[in-house]
């Protein structure tokens, strides 16, 4: 009896979708602890917490925001390649408004978020109402977005001084960076909306088969449009905290390659790129893995250029592990090995 329950517990644990991402994260943390026993230490100083874990959470905030939006878009069977460019646009909009002195912080933030929502609206309209493949539709904004941000900034890096705005990027609340609170807030709201209402089911239905879901009476176009609006919103927020962090808008470099990190996080979280099942907590776990990896590479003194190589191998490995054919091959090999 006892063994049976433990067996089923172990089996359940192995089957849980959390086990592999969690194992990867733990493995990396153990590796870091072996390198540096004080890796996970947190200390309280001058009214805020310091330490590697806080640093990892703080640095991963933009990707975490992007990953929340990206999870939902991928769940509807789409993809959003424009998030990095949207970050640049939102940052540029805010920076330029802040330089114009007589605008309130509230207006600046509303304008920044609105620019992101507008981008999301364009992407969503192209995908759901014009029927353009998501890769290409969002590629358009990826190509033009940085150009638009450059145009807003007149080709310069626009810098500003605004204590309230900077607080969003580098301030603390109750000793913890504001960025972490923002990610938590967006996470909780989106999780409540997707898991406590039928929205999440609609998203999964559309992702599995959008024409079938239409026959069931789900407005698949609106669901897709909403998903792109969400990524637009998240990207704008990520752009705002990135701009607030450096007190400026650098249209060329802000959010560069972050779309790839966000997609990677979602894939690491085990979501199928073809749409359907999704889990925002798992994607955030993916974000933590990526950021811990970045920090590990930095702390252990390995050249940071290895970063891209390791990420590439990680993506391929995770994709292979998700592939049924690969699993069959592996279990076939294991079977042969056991017989011989």
């Amino acid at each position: 009896m006892n063994t049976e329950t433990s067996h089923s517990f172990a089996e359940r644990l192995l089957k849980s979708r959390y086990i592999w991402p969690l194992a990867a994260l733990l493995l990396m943390l153990i590796f870091n602890l072996l390198l540096d026993a004080s890796f996970l230490d947190i200390h309280f100083d001058n009214g805020r917490f310091y330490g590697n874990p806080i640093d990892i959470l703080h640095r991963s905030a933009p990707v975490a925001l992007l990953a929340i939006g990206m999870t939902v878009v991928i769940a509807t069977g789409g993809i959003d390649l424009s998030v990095g460019a949207v970050m640049a646009i939102a940052g540029a909009v805010c920076a330029n408004l802040l330089v114009a002195t007589d605008v309130s912080l509230f207006t600046v933030l509303v304008a920044g978020i609105a620019s992101g929502l507008l981008c999301g609206l364009i992407n969503g309209a192209l995908v759901s109402y014009m029927g353009i493949q998501p890769i290409i539709a969002t590629l358009l904004l990826m190509v033009t977005g940085r150009g638009i941000a450059q145009l807003l900034n007149d080709g310069q890096i626009v810098t500003f001084q605004h204590a309230g705005f900077s607080w969003l990027g580098s301030g603390t609340l109750l000793g913890i960076p504001v960025t972490i609170w923002l990610v938590l807030l967006v996470f909780i709201i989106s999780q409540l909306m997707l898991r406590r209402t039928a929205l999440g089911l609609f998203v999964e239905a559309v992702g599995c088969n959008s024409s079938a879901s239409r026959y069931l009476g789900i407005n698949d176009r609106t669901v897709k449009l909403m998903a792109y609006l969400l990524t637009g919103f998240c990207a704008a927020l990520a752009g705002i905290i990135s701009a607030a962090d450096i007190n400026g808008s650098d249209a060329n470099n802000v959010g560069l390659w972050l779309e790839l990190d966000a997609i990677l996080a979602v894939v690491l979280g085990g979501a199928a790129l073809s749409g359907g099942r999704f889990s925002i907590p798992l994607s955030l776990l993916g974000v933590l893995i990526i950021q811990t990896l970045n920090t590990t590479i930095m702390v252990s003194g390995m050249p940071s250029k290895l970063n891209l190589l390791i990420k590439a191998l990680a993506v391929v490995l995770v994709l292979l592990l998700q592939s049924d054919i690969f699993r069959k091959q592996i279990s076939g090999l294991a079977g042969k090995w056991r017989h011989s």
Binding site: Q133, M142, G147
Partner: protein
């Protein structure tokens, strides 16, 4: 009556002519033979990459790794020639083989494990770019007699124009790809897979060999473009070709190839590259416009052509 599938091609061609005429009236020296040959030489590597992309898109796939492969092949050439003193004629085949193997690997992952092309080639992009930066983070200059010899050779054309030898090489690649795509069995397979891969398989098209071959070809051409790029800049740099995959996709689409695969032309891609090149040239001649206007213009153009494809597709389904 023009066949519907030629409409995007014709639109691109007219736009090209119109841009050329407008530029010619506005600026002295715009409508010259030299500008045309410069269009070809300045966009040579983009054209080679876009030709490979045409094959991939025709088959219904996408290859996001090409820009990174261009960088990797350039860095490999520069490091092997400058730092290890290998003869270029040994380095070039080696780099081309590495590029082809890289594409073969990506194609195999896509075919055998039924993975989506865009995520596999995205990982390939990470990998190639990471490998290039690992080999050398700085730009590596190339000093070799062969490079100077090639840079100095070319054909003098009437009207004081000069066609450098590597533009001639590009024209040869174009001709080769044209024959391969439109007049070979492999080309037929590419169209068949892009049209409907299940029917293609039922008709006896070797899907495995063709799919892998398509991605191998694309990476081969990207590696080739990387070698060309070293002749253009006399150096190899790990950060070249960022965003080149987007330019290549844009050129293919503007050239009238359907993004869903199965329909398009190699010569259309040539027109697409030329049209994008002439937009850049116009902005350089204009002087007051910033270079990021070019990206916005190309984005808008891309949108118009995608919309055109949609409209044509819809009306052909109804008709």
């Amino acid at each position: 009556m023009i066949a519907r599938r030629f409409v995007p091609l014709l639109a691109t061609f007219s736009l090209l002519v119109v841009m050329f005429i407008i530029g010619g009236f506005q600026f002295e020296g715009f409508a010259s033979f030299q500008v045309v040959t410069n269009l070809l030489t300045d966009n040579a590597f983009l054209l080679v990459v876009a030709l490979g992309m045409t094959l991939v898109i025709l088959s219904g796939g996408i290859d996001l790794s090409v820009g990174a492969v261009v960088a990797l092949s350039g860095v490999l050439c520069a490091v092997l020639i400058s730092e290890y003193q290998w003869p270029p004629l040994l380095v070039f085949p080696l780099v081309l083989v590495i590029g082809t193997l890289f594409g073969t690997l990506m194609g195999s992952l896509i075919y055998f494990y039924k993975l989506q092309p865009f995520i596999v080639t995205l990982a390939g992009m990470f990998f190639a770019r990471g490998l290039a930066t690992t080999i050398s983070e700085e730009s590596v200059g190339i000093e070799h007699p062969l490079y100077y010899a090639v840079a100095d050779s070319g054909i003098a054309l009437p009207g004081n124009a000069w066609l450098p030898s590597y533009a001639i090489i590009v024209l040869a690649v174009l001709a080769g790809l044209f024959l391969l795509t439109h007049y070979s069995r492999f080309g037929g397979y590419v169209y068949a897979i892009g049209g409907n891969s299940q029917s293609a398989a039922l008709m006896g098209v070797p899907i495995a060999r063709s799919t892998i071959g398509i991605y191998a070809m694309s990476s081969f051409l990207a590696a080739f473009a990387g070698i060309l790029y070293t002749f253009y800049t006399f150096s190899g740099y790990a950060l070249t070709g960022i965003g080149m995959e987007l330019d290549a996709i844009a050129a293919v689409v503007i050239g009238g190839t359907l993004l869903t695969g199965g329909s398009g032309y190699i010569l259309g891609t040539l027109l697409g590259v030329m049209l994008m090149g002439i937009i850049h040239t116009y902005i350089i001649f204009e002087g007051s416009l910033n270079s990021w206007w070019a990206r916005i213009a190309i984005g808008l153009l891309l949108f118009v052509f995608i919309a055109l494809q949609k409209v044509l597709n819809r009306s052909s389904q109804r008709g």
